[in-house]
């Protein structure tokens, strides 16, 4: 039987490893700006770039590239024919080539200023977390993350390098997800707490699932209990990862233990997690004299020195596993002439952690909430558009004269 690489129902196709190799052999060049619209071309270009040790830029669908990169979009970079042909001879040669790749993955993250920071990630760093071996050979993965984000990349590499099946679950609704879990006898799921919460109650148990990882947001004992119920044979893992570092901590419970090897490189200041520059994929994001990187992640520490992810500092909030920088929304509001002042903030809820809300004070009394929303939608991804907008007479200020968040 042909072994399948990818099943993408929304895309309407499936592709085997043999077919993928054929497609790759026919490809003459490779894009280095990878927008995560469709999985198959995205991975085709990523694989070619890895074989050729190129620098690729992984970006969201709506990401506005820095000027210097714009000309690279949609232009094919020539690839080394000899090297590529050799790597694509068989699956084993491809796996070997990818495992020794010197490619650089560039991702953009929102820093403390409005300008997105480019992080250059040597692929070797990511590959270090990948486990390969016969134990992993039969994996069948539910793919539940954004493909261009760190978590999605790690799932892809873990699955692909073990010749596993990936089934695209990203953005699907509950009945289809439950159907696919059964139909493809999924063995591993890696997703955010929000993804799992939306599956409950599942109505039946899925005993073929062996591994369930949770990442990106705070999870809870209640969620763990429900996961154990639905997936009785699965081992649960909590993962802590950031765009700047990749996966750093893993635990089987609510609390993370800092591995001995990096104990001196992790500290907490005012309950914020700080990482030593040695742990960063790209220490270039810090000033040369800066030793510690402030993650913006707040934690709860117990008496044994273990910690739990509590949330984000106020300038960034977590919406269903996505980090949203409030300043990005504020900038989009700045573009709307009829708005005089605004306050953007998160509202907590048990489903997505937070949703974005904002209060606005209008200059133009005829401006409607619907118009504001549709204008914001032009510039922001759906999860960043404030869900609840209130028109107010006065915006509340803090005692230092800053607008409250």
């Amino acid at each position: 039987m042909k072994s399948l690489f990818l099943v993408d129902l929304p895309g309407g196709y499936s592709i085997s490893y043999a077919e993928l190799l054929d497609l790759l052999r026919q490809q003459k060049g490779c894009n280095v700006i990878l927008r995560a619209k469709h999985l198959r071309p995205f991975y085709q270009h990523l694989i070619l770039a890895m074989i050729n040790d190129l620098q690729v830029y992984l970006v969201d669908e709506d990401f506005e590239l820095p000027l210097a990169l714009q000309e690279k979009e949609n232009t094919n970079v020539l690839i080394n024919k000899e090297k590529t042909t050799k790597a694509l001879e068989t699956w084993d040669t491809l796996q070997h080539s990818l495992l020794h790749s010197k490619a650089t993955l560039s991702l953009f993250t929102s820093g403390t200023t409005a300008v997105p920071k480019q992080i250059n990630y040597p692929i070797g760093r990511l590959l270090r977390n990948i486990r390969i071996g016969s134990k992993y050979a039969a994996g069948r993965w539910a793919f539940c993350y954004h493909p261009a984000h760190m978590a999605g990349l790690q799932v892809f590499l873990q699955a692909f390098l073990n010749h596993n099946l990936l089934v695209n679950f990203f953005g699907l609704d509950k009945p289809l997800i439950l159907d696919l879990l059964e139909r493809f006898r999924i063995s591993h799921i890696s997703a955010t707490p929000t993804f799992y919460r939306l599956l409950f109650p599942t109505g039946q148990i899925y005993d073929k699932v062996q591994g369930v990882s949770i990442g990106g947001e705070r999870s809870s004992p209640k969620l763990h209990a429900r996961l154990h119920e639905a997936f009785p044979n699965a081992k649960l893992y909590n993962l802590f990862a950031t765009t700047e570092t990749g996966t750093l901590f893993a635990s089987e419970g609510d609390y993370f233990v800092i591995p001995k090897a990096i104990q001196s490189k992790v500290k907490f200041v005012n309950n914020e997690l700080l990482l030593h520059r040695d742990l960063l994929a790209d220490p270039g994001i810090l000033n040369p004299e800066q030793e510690w990187y402030q993650t913006g992640d707040t934690v709860i520490i117990d008496e044994k020195g273990r910690f739990q992810f509590a949330g984000r500092k106020k300038d960034t909030i977590n919406v269903a596993g996505y980090r949203v920088k409030l300043v990005e929304i504020e900038e989009a509001l700045d573009q709307i002439p009829g708005i005089q002042q605004y306050r953007v903030y998160g509202r907590k809820n048990a489903l997505t952690g937070n949703i974005i809300c904002c209060d606005v004070k209008l200059l133009d009394p005829d401006l409607s909430i619907a118009t504001i929303k549709s204008l914001l939608k032009e510039n922001l991804q759906a999860f960043k558009v404030p869900r609840i907008i209130k028109i107010v007479d006065e915006i509340s200020m803090t005692h230092t004269g800053k607008i409250k968040r």
Binding site: D173, R197, L199, T352, I355
Partner: protein
Amino acid sequence: MLAEARQKVIEIIQLVCEEKSPPVAILEEIKEKTHLRNDLALDSLELAELTVRLEDEFQIDIFEDGVIETVEEIYQRLSI
């Protein structure tokens, strides 16, 4: 009183639905058995918005104790 509270719930669901493009529901169509995700096609962000709006009205986070699927389950959670 109960009928009033239920009417308020329906209005809030309606409000969330109206902001979808294209809007999916009209007032008469929302019944007890209406399924929030399957019938009204509310996604996770819209469900979260619904929760927050309901919390403003009723001071209860309906998703606190697990996922709600139908309008009837909202009534139960809010004890109305």
